[in-house]
Symmetry: none
Subunit: 399 residues, 2 copies
């Protein structure tokens, strides 16, 4: 309901919003008693926090640990319990595959099957990506009952399969038996609308076996994580924003594309991303910049690495501020404490910087300080509304 | 929706959660300018607050004063506006009556009626519980139109009546005129489905009058608080927890039983409850411990008594911590300020203690300090999610 309201109230203006997402930003104290943010020497972010209003956000709800998909949905202002982006879709997004509404995507393993039809190697000897590219090229152009099928290499034995056409449904059982020595499982419909799709996928697997029978490295495909893409209203429809995304990792570019954002060339390093922002700053009125490596370091349990990446990001803040965005938001999509070596449920600190935000008494950009901030504890779904309001892009509700 | 999600994400692990509910915990300042918590000498709880993350919770919503039923529903993670446990049910639970789904329960007063059919004593001279037991035995075995009726003594003149059978409805007016000198009110249906039930209850009252006509102490029953029991998913279904309850007062045992908790022998004093926890600590992975007397003292307007009970509870904290629960929550179900001599709408302080909670700057366990805590202000309905997350019993949502 609030989303319809925002769509009604949103207006296009020249003011610019920058949403800097430091993936897995926040953490919990390690043995030193400090978190990564506490430990990092981040004078620019600290100064920004002092000159802004701060708070903490829940990506989904207190206590819920989100994956990257739902966490980003929420941060973009879309209900992550209503809109789901399943595994297969994320994999397709991750290789920059141009998904269309209604596409069904699924993760695949190129696998080896013995003479008796049992899986002898679920990863076909973890074949090289090069080899996988060759195998996928043999699987080009398959079409079954009007459904077009794309098999695309991801990395090593991992591929993604996209089914395009009318009437597809993702209520399907997976074919990967998860252990070797067993036959692949048949695809079964798990809902009343999926029977036809199950039939198409069964025929597709037969066709794959036929085409790969002479391949010595892989002669089978195992499928898991069926997911159909839903229609999401774009950033332009929802917020009337000309939105652009800067992300080194393909999956985040793919996510941004789902919301109709323009994908800008992010380069390969964090400073490339900030350069890209500067070069394109005149052309859009919303920028989503995604920094991945904090999350990767957290996932690896590498506290020091995460600290150093936070310090690197901090060094780009002065240049970013020189661009004078009307609103700058610095936050994360979720927490990834090095202590836990994975995503976590902890709320995420946020800095909301702009001329009209008001101020609080936060003196440092940290989990603990932001929890005392003027924004309080809000849902991540409310961040975009605050950004829009502070950029004077939302008109009044009611008389 | 979030509840379905939690059901999907919950996993069973060996980690243990203790939820210590100090009934009516919080208050407002009296003339001294201090609340009961401010006044109490509770060094162990203060130390625990410093070594934890704190916050405040709203049992229902800001400004809403809850009864014990809705307050506990919320704290257990069930929406108190969706699931209602009416007075009659609470009374039945309070005497350990084994309620079944669909039962209709109502509170009764054994009363005295004069020759003209007017109530001469609403409490029949506050007859002894012994006498009430005898009277109730005269009312055994009543069955009307296939509905079985149980009349059970509670305390003194107070009884509870349970109606069991098909098609019962609790949209019924009460029969207690609340003042003496008036005739009992007739039971009227307040909704389209209650007409038949109203007829059965009218016949039941006639039968009671007939059976008690020769009793000198009580010859009438007054009914109020009709409530029908609904099906609630158990703690095992919702959280995959093996849950146990330790509560001296029967009503809280009854509440816990509604959620499928095992009821442990709580004894009669607060230290018995903590002994019981210690003795059973290996056998379950969730413990709800309920301390009643803080609420009773608050209800009596006895500020000093409430302070001293808080101090007594405080003295058991070190032993509790020796058990090393993965997560310890110390909170109340609602506020009962001695100043107001009753439940109130004020938010309730909470301590969330565990290895992964993170820390804040709270230095004392009090209303004012906890309001500045790292948890912020959340709904009591979110407490169990936080407990589960911090005990590492919730998996990730989405990829």
């Amino acid at each position: 309901m609030i989303n319809k309201l925002i769509e009604q109230l949103a207006v296009t203006t020249d003011s610019k919003i920058v949403l800097l997402v430091i993936d897995g930003l926040s953490g919990i104290p390690n043995k030193s008693g400090k978190t990564e943010l506490d430990t990092a020497n981040i004078p620019n972010l600290d100064a920004l926090a002092r000159d802004s209003i701060c708070g903490i956000t829940d990506p989904i709800a207190p206590g819920i640990t989100p994956g990257s998909g739902p966490a980003h949905l929420s941060l973009f202002g879309y209900d992550p319990l209503e809109h789901k982006i399943g595994r297969g879709l994320l994999e397709a997004l991750g290789i920059d595959f141009p998904l269309e509404s209604g596409d069904l995507a699924v993760r695949g393993n190129l696998a080896a099957m013995d003479k008796n039809g049992k899986i002898s190697d679920r990863r076909a000897g973890r074949i090289s990506t090069e080899e996988s590219i060759k195998i996928c090229s043999r699987l080009e152009g398959i079409e079954i009952s009007g459904i077009k099928i794309f098999v695309k290499p991801v990395k090593e034995h991992r591929v993604v399969v996209i089914f395009r056409g009318k009437g597809l449904d993702d209520a399907l059982s997976e074919t990967d038996p998860q252990v070797e020595g067993l036959a692949p499982l048949p695809v079964k419909p798990l809902g009343p609308l999926a029977a036809e799709t199950a039939g198409i996928i069964t025929k597709f697997i037969e066709e794959v076996k036929k085409r790969l029978s002479k391949s010595f490295s892989a002669n089978m495909i195992l499928l898991r994580g069926f997911a159909k893409s839903q229609k999401l209203s774009s950033f332009h429809e929802r917020y009337k924003l000309r939105a652009a995304a800067i992300a080194i990792y393909p999956m985040y570019r793919g996510l941004a594309r789902l919301f109709g954002m323009e994908i800008l060339p992010a380069g390969e390093r964090i400073n490339d991303e900030f350069d890209c922002l500067r070069q394109n700053f005149d052309k859009y009125d919303f920028f989503y910049i995604h920094v991945k490596y904090t999350d990767s370091a957290g996932e690896d349990g590498n506290f020091e690495k995460k600290v150093s990446i936070l310090e690197e990001v901090d060094s780009y803040i002065p240049n970013l501020l020189e661009l004078k965005p009307a609103v700058l938001i610095v936050t994360g999509d979720h927490s990834t404490p090095a202590v836990l070596k994975g995503h976590s449920w902890h709320p995420v600190p946020i800095i909301l910087h702009g001329r009209y935000t008001g101020k609080d008494d936060v003196v440092q950009f940290s989990e603990k300080e932001c929890a005392k901030g003027g924004i309080g504890r809000i849902s991540a779904m409310q961040v975009m509304t605050l950004a829009m309001a502070n950029a004077l892009k939302l008109t009044k509700y009611g008389a």
